[in-house]
């Protein structure tokens, strides 16, 4: 058990620093045994694993639920990629999974649209909002700010269970008679409002809306909790400018969520009204299936405004936590302070502010007044400035570093790479004039998958690899991690880089097949390439899943601070316990990025180590 390597650990709460050789694991374990004996009789299986109010357990619940939803979402994308590469071919896997919706194994067009819709919904909301932000906000906010738990553990539990109900309803909607919602993840009415327009707009859409209502409630409760916790429960010495950038990102994300999610709820409620109670908020002058409908005076464009008032900030709700995780992982593994801490905080705030006033760039050609289009172009392109600052700061952080290529670090660097590649094409799409001909083509699909899909997924993976030891007390296998990263990185570019060309050929998205008329016959072979890379990427995720599950049971036991990190979560014992620290909560004396500080004995100085005599606290 005893390790040969020399490490430093802290006995927390006593503020005594010790050098421990060959004993630390034993020490940590004995510590935990005490703790277990102390608490076991109070906790039942249900309070520990199911209705837990402990933020660490809730974070694991979010992660595992998010991963399960991720498996569903990614599997769906592979199914429709098969259809796109080999249109209207018969596949056994369609026969098995889609049943009556794939007669003779050929996918039905309505099911294609349903798969695209639910893939988008699941990936954006269930995986990258709840799975990413839910997991790491829960895990890291209390641990990194030095709090015993969230401000309200009970609300925290409720927010997870609302998310669980929402996931269950969304999955249940896959099994209704007429199929799940199929109007695209943006569910624009009238398509989503009228069951006559497509079968998915019947019971499937009702369930989608109900599920999202639960989801929004969950995310609001969670966000309020995060905000209150960060503002009120910081330990002594943890000023706002000593917060790790992860916590900054989670805080600002939560604020954006509180500002924008209620607007989506209003859109959903009004749509429910239109669908079920005969109102005309979004509908007017409609003739469908041989019948003039009674709706008069509503406007689908109003729905688009309400939807994108959340929809665009949602991009940053997904992305900011990933960027926060990247900041932490890159700095730790480069053994260097994050470059430009205040600029990073400033750019997070700038991005958050701008993100709420750019929603119109999804609507340049909806018939919105062209003058508004000009305003939104202006605000949209401004976002490139704080984004560029972040990208350059990451690059400068690794410059002259001593980079430790742990799997989390690979994903964090991968994130910066896809964030740049995907972000740059945003400069094209955010330009109202250029959007005219690229809107809703595959160029858009390539753009947002790289900049928010892949980047945020990389953030999720970086976070899982980095904080796995903190969550489960064991290490994930690094070689499997390397395989996972490189196959994923190559196939992600393999999927989405050629896709820009498909978009520039003028091919609209959400087409069931691209070869029904001859004009796009020449992009068929690109679609095959894209699908092959997608299948490869899917296979790589199996490596991750295997690693994730098996390491939980058979992974090597972790030491207390495996990455030699500065933040407070690594000063708390790993095993499940309420209150995080057995004794007093550690106090904070410095910012979290004192890596390789001249004059320090090691290349890291944790936040709870007091300044030495004459040592200056830089940056503050």
């Amino acid at each position: 058990m005893a390790k040969k390597n020399n490490r430093r650990a802290k006995i927390v709460g006593t503020d005594i620093e010790l050098d421990i050789t060959e004993k630390e694991d034993v020490l940590i374990e004995s510590h935990d045994e005490d703790h277990d004996e102390h608490h076991h009789h109070k906790e039942t299986f249900i309070t520990k694993y199911i209705f837990s109010i402990d933020h660490k357990m809730i974070s694991k619940q979010y992660l595992i639920t998010g991963l399960i939803m991720g498996i569903v979402g990614i599997a769906m994308s592979l199914l429709f990629r098969l259809q796109l590469a080999w249109p209207e071919e018969s596949f056994g896997v369609f026969d098995v999974l889609l049943g009556k919706w794939a007669t003779d194994g050929v996918m039905d067009p309505n099911v294609y649209l349903a798969l695209v819709t639910i893939h988008g919904t699941i990936m954006v909301f269930f995986v990258l909002t709840a799975g990413l932000s839910g997991t790491f906000s829960n895990l890291l906010i209390p641990l990194q700010i030095g709090a015993r738990d969230m401000a309200s553990g009970f609300l925290n539990m409720i927010s997870y269970w609302l998310f669980f109900i929402s996931s269950a309803i969304m999955l249940a909607s896959l099994f209704v008679e007429a199929g799940p919602a199929a109007a695209g993840w943006t569910i624009y009415p009238p398509l989503s409002a009228l069951p006559q327009a497509q079968p998915g707009s019947a019971a499937g859409m009702t369930l989608w809306l109900v599920s999202m209502a639960f989801f929004i409630a969950s995310s609001l409760l969670a966000a309020l909790n995060y905000i209150v916790t960060v503002l009120n429960l910081r330990t002594e010495g943890m000023t706002m400018t000593r917060l790790p950038l992860t916590v900054w990102a989670f805080l600002v994300t939560a604020i954006i969520g509180v500002v924008s999610f209620p607007v989506l709820l209003s859109a959903a409620l009004l749509l429910i009204m239109d669908r079920s109670f005969g109102t005309s908020f979004f509908l007017s002058d409609i003739f469908i299936q041989g019948e003039v409908l009674h709706y008069q005076g509503g406007s689908p464009v109003l729905f688009e405004h309400l939807f994108w008032f959340l929809g665009h900030p949602e991009v940053y709700i997904v992305l900011l936590p990933a960027l926060g995780i990247a900041s932490e992982v890159i700095s730790t593994n480069a053994r260097k302070p994050i470059f430009g801490y205040r600029a990073m905080v400033g750019s997070i705030l700038a991005i958050a502010f701008l993100s709420t006033i750019v929603w119109g760039h999804h609507m340049f050609i909806t018939g919105m007044n062209p003058f508004l289009g000009s305003v939104f172009t202006f605000t949209t392109l401004l976002i490139a400035i704080p984004s560029a600052v972040k990208a350059f700061n990451y690059i400068t952080t690794i410059w002259k570093g001593n980079i430790q290529f742990n799997p989390g670090m690979l994903f964090a660097i991968g994130l910066v790479s896809t964030f740049i590649t995907g972000g740059l094409t945003g400069i094209i799409l955010g330009d109202s004039a250029l959007d005219i001909n690229l809107h809703d083509t595959y160029f858009v699909v390539a753009h947002f998958h790289l900049v928010m899909g892949i980047s945020a997924l990389y953030g999720l993976f970086a976070g899982v690899y980095h904080w796995y030891p903190r969550m489960f007390g064991r290490m994930m296998n690094k070689n499997l991690g390397y395989i996972h990263f490189w196959i994923t990185a190559i196939s992600a570019y393999g999927v989405f880089f050629p896709m820009h060309f498909v978009g520039m050929a003028g091919l609209p998205r959400r087409y069931y097949t691209n070869t029904n008329f001859p004009y796009f016959d020449d992009v068929a072979n690109i679609n095959v390439v894209i699908t092959l890379f997608a299948l490869l990427a899917g296979a790589a995720q199996l490596v991750f899943l295997y690693n994730f599950i098996s390491s939980m049971f058979y992974g090597k036991k972790s030491v207390m601070n495996p990455w030699k990190s500065n933040t407070l979560e690594w000063t708390a014992p790993i095993k499940h316990m309420h209150g995080n620290w057995p004794g007093k909560i550690p106090h904070v004396f410095r910012w979290p990025y004192d890596y390789s500080k001249p004059g320090a004995k090691d290349d890291f100085v944790p936040q709870n180590i007091p300044l030495k005599k004459g040592e200056r606290e830089l940056q503050h």
Partner: protein, 355 residues
Amino acid sequence: MTLLLVLTSLILISIAVWQLTKILELSKPVDFENSEIATDNDNDMQGKFMFLFLIFIYALTIFSFFQYGDVILPESASVHGENYDRLLWFSFSIIFVVQTITQALLHYFAFKYRGNKKRKALFFADSNFLEGVWTIIPTVALAGLILYGLFTWVDIMTIEENDEALVVELYAQQFNWKARYAGEDGVLGDANVRFLQDFDGKNLVGIDPTDRNGDDDVVVQELHLPVGREVVFRIRSQDVLHSAFMPHFRAQMNAVPGMINQFAFIPNTTTQDMRLRPEIVKKVRKINKIRFDKSEVLTANGDFPLDPYQFDFLLLCNKICGASHYNMQMKIIVDTEEDFNKWIDEQLTFKEFVQ
């Protein structure tokens, strides 16, 4: 062929990664490091992979441009489209340069500063100068792009109606397009979905029968446009959202039920001239080769072969609208003024049609 190449390279890449990690594992002295934390060996190997990955990104970019560059839309066939294309390629060249440089810095630094026990990282936490540089440079570049973009946008979206302009209504429904010409009076008759069932359904776009302006309107299923004359589109939908997307003219506007949207452009190339353009000839030849290969398979199975393809402009639906969204299109034919006039004279007016 491409398929085979890609497959082989994919397999080779996977094997390479697998083998490399295996070598890595085997090359480690027994019990040298029994944790899962990156060792100097790992850092060295992964840092080198980072450099290879940079080469991969560049190679993929070059490969894509060479291999897939020819699927990109041909030069614009409308007047404003030329400005559009100029702005597009100007923006592309800027982001291309930024992409090349930043990816190089990111991956090269990752390679160069791969860690080991002896290295010590530089404690470099802030520099107002550097922060200033990469705030100001993007700001200046974006100010230029924003201004250029907005001038182009205002130019495209400002519709100055004159008597010369041809007014055409594009009418969307699940799952087809119709076009309505204003006729000799140059004014489209009022229309609403309430009138769709009049005349036993022959009132295809719901023209108000009491509005005399509608009498000479012409409703067709194939869009003809005269070259060199401004066309003002009024875009309607009768059921769900659609989007009138005319990629060759760099034109798109949504069709929204309850609303009439507008877009205008001047076509500057006839369908005939377009078919003679070298890049179109090449594209058509390529597509026909694909169709010929497919036809061989089809005839071998006893099916009919595919028709040979001839280039035509298209109006596509570009907003998800239901099951047959993928096939909601209309042919656009750009004619000379005379041919256009001849064609429109042959069409039945609304009054003639419903009688």
